[in-house]
């Protein structure tokens, strides 16, 4: 297991380098460099340009040095937490993104838990009562969930909440808390809003996972080791959960790896519709306005988080399945 861990972490290094190089390339993509853009900004707002300040910035970003040096300087600063400045907001990138990334991670984790709990319960029920009315209902609901675009579900939920409960369910906070500093009350308020994005974003993943679990479990239920376990005279509950279910849920662990990227890339529209202060909408906006330090930082951090997610899911898989561990 230790060997596996070390091997797996070493494998991440080239990927990390590739990701950072790619991110840097993206930052460099728009014509001109950071300073030309900055000066254009200043001119537009009619502010005076101080030669000394420009020169200091040029030094700082190494703009007259070779591209490789610029990359090295950039990545060194990034690792120290200096991610550059957003032109659009005129604020350091780090001020803008951490809260959003934090909220995105929280939504991801909660969505993952929601997906697991619901698909576990429904999947096990469906497989153990194959072709029962409940199984058909679950299958029907599952396909409906898979086929409906998430932003649709979001709109329907918002409409229903507004129409029947007179409630606005957009955003993650009540208006009173939006600009407040973090407090326990704000946290409670957030949790009250959280279920909407979690349900909306989690639905299709849940539906997919139900199908996976049902199919796997039906497969496992007929394996010889289940017959062996039956012949041992253990209780029905233990028989089901210790043996076939234990093997059938292994794919759950793989979802740890893809939930975060799914939420960033796939759910941006949902986040826009729901007005969520998460990473997706700001990333989208930064790309539209060519706010490259902001966009680049998002891409870098989210890629790293995704990589970590994949690492965790691989470790969980190895832990859960000795056949992988001892390869």
């Amino acid at each position: 297991m230790l060997g596996f861990l070390v091997r797996r972490i070493l494998q991440m290094i080239p990927v990390l380098i590739a990701i950072s190089a790619l991110t840097f390339a993206i930052i460099q993509l728009p014509p001109g460099d950071y300073l030309t853009t900055y000066m254009a900004e200043l001119q537009m707002t009619g502010e005076a340009i101080h030669e000394a300040e420009i020169e200091a910035l040029r030094q700082r970003y190494g703009l007259d040095r070779p591209i490789l040096v610029q990359y090295t300087m950039w990545i060194t600063r990034a690792v120290r937490g200096d991610l550059g400045v957003s032109f659009e907001y005129n604020l350091p990138v780090s001020v803008l993104i951490w809260e959003r990334i934090g909220l995105t991670v929280v939504i991801s984790v909660l969505t993952l838990l929601f997906t697991w709990v619901v698909s576990f319960a429904v999947g096990v029920y469906s497989a153990t009562r194959q072709y029962s009315i409940g199984d058909y209902l679950a299958t029907f609901a599952g396909f409906l969930g898979l086929a409906t675009p998430n932003f649709m579900i979001a709109l329907i939920l918002m409409y229903a909440a507004n129409r029947f409960f007179g409630q606005s369910i957009g955003g993650l906070f009540s208006p009173a808390y939006v600009d407040e500093p973090w407090s326990f009350a704000k946290f409670v308020d957030m949790m009250g809003h959280m279920w909407v994005p979690v349900v909306v974003i989690g639905t299709s993943g849940t539906a997919a996972l139900i199908r996976v679990l049902r199919a796997n479990l039906l497969d496992e239920l007929n394996k010889p080791y289940v017959v062996t376990a039956k012949a041992k005279g253990i209780s029905e509950f233990r028989l089901l959960f210790k043996y076939p279910v234990r093997v059938a849920i292994i794919p759950f662990l793989a979802t740890v790896g893809w939930t975060l990227p799914l939420i960033i890339s796939g759910e941006t529209i949902t986040s826009v519709v729901l007005g969520l202060p998460t990473a997706g909408p700001l990333l989208l906006r930064s790309l539209q306005t060519q706010d490259m330090f902001l966009a680049g930082s998002f891409i870098l951090i989210l890629s790293v988080l995704t990589l970590i997610g994949t690492l965790i899911s691989d470790l969980l898989l190895a832990w859960a399945d000795p056949r992988i561990r001892y390869e």
């Binding site: 010889p224 080791y225 376990a229 012949a231 041992k232 005279g233 253990i234 000795p322």
Partner: protein, 334 residues
């Protein structure tokens, strides 16, 4: 000697979309305390379904339609066929009183638990032992079945063991609660020849040491010759012949048994050409021939008799019976 198991008129059918499969159709056999009953027959004749009926663990779609499976425990008797398959009564019998080992040592253990875990579970559930004590006993059982380095092997996963070692572990698990009857469903079929004989030797030795009764299911008469006291020959869900092992080998009554005997390779006998195998193919259980099920393949087929009615199991003497009109002459019983 005392009977520990009496099966009588057992019928286990599967109700499928394409018809009723009479996998076990009126089977009877007795198991004496400390003896080995061999069950032979070609693939698909219902051996496994019969074995699983004894533990009442029949696959979905199938059930015991009629018959009795009476288990004797001292003065107590239980009819297993009448117990609820998910009830508590049958669970006290499974593993504890009657244990089973299977054909595929590769897939018969769960891949995600160590063999130690799976053996200890048996002891913890039935004997209510704590983990330490269960582990000690599991190690002891592994030593007993000839597992090398049992202390280390107990923490290994099934895929880390060879086929023969896995089957030894399976035997250790089955015998861990000291059951009175062991059902071995083709325990050597998936193993290579040298390992096969080691496993049979092991079962024989343990059977004598522990005086466990065994139902040995196989399609290999060589295995039967080595280990069984009594033999039951099955064909398409029915018992076609039943005899003590010597009688059966010396004096088979049913043409099917004779044909099976002719198809065993013998050491020292020169094989000229191919081994004789039984001609024709096994009919589909859903579409059985009229009369004796074996008549289309039988060398002693008598037109007008064998294809007219299914013969009863007839007694040639007090412990030898066969389902054939040739027993005691064609019209002996009518």
């Amino acid at each position: 000697m005392q009977k520990i198991l009496e099966i009588d008129g057992l019928k286990t059918y599967f109700f499928t979309d394409s018809g009723v499969v009479r996998a076990v159709d009126d089977v009877g056999l007795d198991v004496q305390e400390g003896s080995v009953v061999g069950v032979v027959g070609e693939s698909g004749c219902g051996k496994t379904v019969m074995a699983r009926s004894i533990l009442n663990i029949i696959e979905k779609g199938g059930r015991i339609v009629s018959g009795r499976i009476v288990y004797h425990k001292g003065a107590e008797t239980v009819d297993i066929a009448s117990l609820k398959p998910t009830g508590a009564a049958i669970k006290r019998i499974r593993g504890r009183e009657i244990a089973m080992i299977f054909q595929e040592p590769m897939t018969s253990f769960s891949p995600v638990y160590t063999i130690g875990n799976q053996i200890m579970e048996m002891l913890m559930v039935h004997r209510r032992l704590g983990a330490t004590e269960a582990r000690r006993m599991a190690t002891e059982m592994l030593t007993r079945v000839g597992m090398s380095k049992p202390e280390q092997r107990i923490d290994e996963y099934p895929h880390q063991l060879s086929g023969g070692m896995r089957q030894r572990a399976m035997i250790a698990m089955a015998l861990s609660c000291d059951p009175r009857l062991l059902i071995a469903d083709e325990p050597t079929t998936a193993l290579d020849v040298t390992i096969q004989s080691q496993i049979i030797e092991l079962l024989k030795r343990l059977q004598q040491e522990l005086s466990t009764s065994i139902i040995m299911i196989t399609h290999d008469l060589g295995v039967i010759a080595e280990i069984a006291d009594e033999v039951v020959v099955m064909y398409l869900g029915k018992v076609v012949e039943q005899a003590p092992v010597r009688k059966l080998f010396r004096d088979p009554l049913h043409p099917y048994t004779s044909a099976l005997l002719r198809s065993i390779p013998r050491l020292g006998r020169k094989v000229e050409g191919r081994l004789p195998s039984i001609k024709g193919t096994i009919p589909d259980v859903r579409d059985l021939p009229p009369g004796c099920y074996f008549h289309p393949r039988c060398e002693s087929f008598i037109p007008g008799v064998c294809d007219a009615a299914l013969p009863e199991l007839r007694a040639a003497d007090d412990d030898h019976r066969a389902r054939c009109v040739l027993v005691n002459g064609v019209n002996a019983d009518d």
